[in-house]
Amino acid sequence: MLPVLPTTVVGSYSVPEWLERLKTDYYRNRISRSHLGEIHDMAVKAALKDQEAAGIDIVSDGELRRDNDIDYLLARITGVHIPVTVKSFYFDYYDSPVVAEPLPIDPPPPLGLADDFRFTRAHTDRPIKFSFTGPFSLAHRIQNKAYAKSADLVRALAQVLNAEARALADVGAELLQIDEPFLAGYPDDVGVAVEAINIVTHGVDVTWGLHVCYGNRYARPSWEGHYDFLFPAVLDANVDQLVLEFGRKGYEDLSVIQRLGWDRALGLGVVDVKTERVESADLIAARIRKALETFPREKLVINPDCGLRHLPADVARAKLAAMVEGTIAVRRTLSKATPEPAPETTTAQGA
């Protein structure tokens, strides 16, 4: 049973400099894939331990096996051709992946994410959030030579991801999150993105989250703006949670989201992942209380703005600990004010 205001992460976890170097060594052909795999196993276990120690209710594998949010998936999708697979830095995007022929989707070959989930499941007893980048953002890193319209490529990628989501659900995934880091840069295309999200989620009976932020490449925002661009299209998305960035940008958009009709759960970003300054627990609590003025407690999930990938490990640990401490402080206040109705506690996770 999750507590009210459950705490979780968005996905990625701190990648220390030594791991960056080892990952880069792999992309420069200096260490083998099996060695890198063992390194990743150790890193994932450590990331789980860190989250558990911080008191996070719903943990992730930290996406530590991934080179970045895009290429880890593109490199596994049959039909996506990557001309040069050597990188000077592991986190860089591959140059110009190409889809020259329509993707095989009947059925698409598996991507192997289920194995990643299975490993995580074996090493923690806590609920797990498993994230993957959505079709809209994946398509934006591909040269499309196969489809007449870019939207058709987005739909085809969505079908590939739908098959993978089914495989994840089959091995026990209960909370899946689609990340669309590019969406804020193309506000006019929300309709296509939502259509593709619904293809991904179709027939997969899990709790679905949708994470939209303003970018976190190299700890920098890629776009600016407000979340009103998501509406009304996002109301048609078959997802249970919107996981959004507020800690860095401020909470003005909360009322906009509520006014425009979002009545499902909200993943409330309360930790700015683009600064190494650690928020105090009091500040976190204040941010949550501010959100409670707009959203009921049963609708809120507490998380950082985005992945913690670019933060040093000690900072990531401190931020998560502060987030948990601030959340607990608010829970105490709430429990004094009114008793928690049992069903509400599950609504926020959406299960």
Binding site: R217, Y218, P221, W223
Partner: protein
């Protein structure tokens, strides 16, 4: 013994250097001593800056690693290490008329004795970025008005070419035209902010800002989008005097210009509110004037170069006489000069400095005589060496991992400035920097890149590959192009912009 003759290009051409004339006397002096010659390296440079911190020949001890340092060195690396203990450095450019054999012999004997009586030291061994030469450098910018009054020459005239390349109108127009194209495309997507920020670090006397703003106004009028109305041009400099000059120069644009006194190595202390908002950061000949260490790889081991500033005894005696002091008092007087600045120094010590002009003259003479003695201090590990507040020495690894011998700049101040500036850039913003960049690490193996003296300030070339590497790790493409709008210049334009 290894002899490293770096200016190989000087061995050919119409006036080739006679390497034997430089090397012969030095080798003779070494041969006459009891040193283990197998542990001596001899390096020859062509020191580009006529005013610099080196004597024609000098020796640099190579400090042995021991204790903590040797324990943390990987075994495989220590196995290939040599154990040189001394480097003899010759400035080939000035060696022709110098009594090299005698100078070298004197230096070796002084080294063996553990003290050099012909030098009056101003500081203990320190990382070069912490040397007193940077206090002189800071004083120059703080008291530039006094320096210029006494010399009768504005600092810009002392630059190669007599003016900053940032004033070049063709270059300015190219930058502004590119900005307009970007802003037009953002405006089409309703993504152009209301406020358009441009930051200039190191505006000099304001002439370059004026050029930029005048050109901007003219081009904006022709373009017809009224971007000038939304423009905020922020001039930032360490020197209030420089900023005052700059403000006066751009008085016609006062409504659009703000001035900030700040340390270029920490721009966000004053400009943090502009995070991700600045479309252009414009920097000209600032980075080459910021404190720097050097690192060296010798025999497979990595060292930092430590320095201690000194005055040659004879120069110190002359300087002392000019201010009615004894030579041993000169270091103390220099300390007071650097703390108080010339005007207050004259007030505080009238017996030595009857006028401010005398204090400035003392400053100038000390600066002219100032030298750096160097030694190589082993690094226990790259991770233990901090380049800048957010950059560890690990960033040097790609440049050193070949194991080849090299000595290169770290440009700590420039790295600090660069890494603290790029967070200001809008996702489509650019940092454009005109400066003296080494664009290929190999260039450090064939040329001397500083430190040198520009008038009253320090100049060092910049380690372009290091800045590019650090920028790439932060998601920026960093590109170097030779300055396109003036021929015969060493200036290179570095451009950094977000990669994806």
């Amino acid at each position: 013994m290894l002899v490293d003759f770096r200016p190989t290009g000087k061995l050919r051409g119409s006036k080739p250097v006679d390497a034997t004339a430089s090397l012969g006397p030095v080798l003779d002096a070494l041969a006459e001593d009891s040193l283990d010659l197998s542990r001596v390296r001899v390096v020859c440079d062509w020191v580009q800056y006529r005013n610099n911190f080196r004597d024609v020949v000098d020796i640099r001890p190579i400090v042995a690693a021991h204790g903590h340092e040797s324990e943390v060195m990987p075994v495989a690396l220590s196995a290939v290490m040599t154990s040189d203990e001394l480097e003899v450095a010759i400035d080939v450019r000035r060696s022709g008329d110098a009594p090299l054999k005698q100078l070298t012999g004197d230096l070796i004997r002084a080294h063996a004795a553990g003290a050099n009586p012909s030098r009056i030291y101003l500081e203990p061994w320190v990382a070069t970025r912490s040397s007193v030469i940077w206090d002189f450098n800071a004083l120059y910018w703080k008291a530039l008005d006094l320096w210029e009054q006494v010399t009768g020459q504005q600092y810009e005239k002392t630059l190669p070419g007599g003016e900053s390349d940032a004033r070049n109108r063709d270059a300015v127009r190219e930058i502004i035209t590119n900005l307009f194209m970007l802003w037009d495309s953002l405006a089409e997507r309703n993504a152009l902010p209301d406020e358009l920020y441009v930051v200039e670090l190191g505006p000099g006397n304001g002439a370059q800002a004026k050029t930029w703003l005048d050109e901007f106004t003219a081009l904006d009028r022709a373009h017809g989008k009224e971007y000038y109305r939304r423009l905020h041009y922020l001039m930032c400099d360490y020197s209030p005097h420089v900023l005052e000059l700059a403000r006066a120069a751009v008085a016609d644009h006062a409504q659009h210009v703000s001035a900030f006194v700040l340390d270029a190595t920490q721009p966000r202390t004053a400009l943090g509110f502009l995070g991700y908002k600045v479309f252009l950061v414009y920097i000209s000949n600032v980075y080459d004037n910021l404190p720097t260490d050097e690192v060296a790889q010798i025999g497979g081991r990595t060292y930092t170069v430590q320095s201690r500033a000194y005055l040659p005894s004879c120069a110190a005696a002359d300087i002392a006489q000019s201010v009615s002091a004894r030579p041993e008092q000169v270091p103390g007087l220099i300390g007071k000069l650097l703390r108080l600045q010339p005007a207050l120094l004259a007030e505080a010590m009238p017996a030595h400095f009857p006028s401010v002009e005398m204090a400035v003259e003392f400053w100038r003479r000390c600066w002219a005589a100032l030298r750096l003695e160097e030694r190589y201090q082993p690094l226990a590990g790259l991770d233990l060496y901090q380049i800048a507040p957010t950059v560890s020495g690990e960033s040097l690894r790609p440049l050193l991992e070949s194991g080849a011998a090299i000595r290169m700049h770290v440009n700590n101040g420039a790295v600090a400035s660069f890494t603290d500036t790029i967070p200001l850039l809008h996702p489509y913003g650019r940092l454009i920097c005109h400066d003296l960049f080494v664009t290929d690490v190999h260039a450090y193996r064939t040329g001397f890149r500083g430190p040198g003296k520009y008038d009253g300030s320090v100049v060092n070339w910049l380690n372009g590959p290091l800045l590019a590497h650090i920028g790439r790790r932060r998601g920026f493409d960093v590109d170097f192009q030779r300055f396109a709008h003036r021929t015969g210049t060493n200036i290179v334009t570095m451009t950094a912009q977000v990669r994806d």
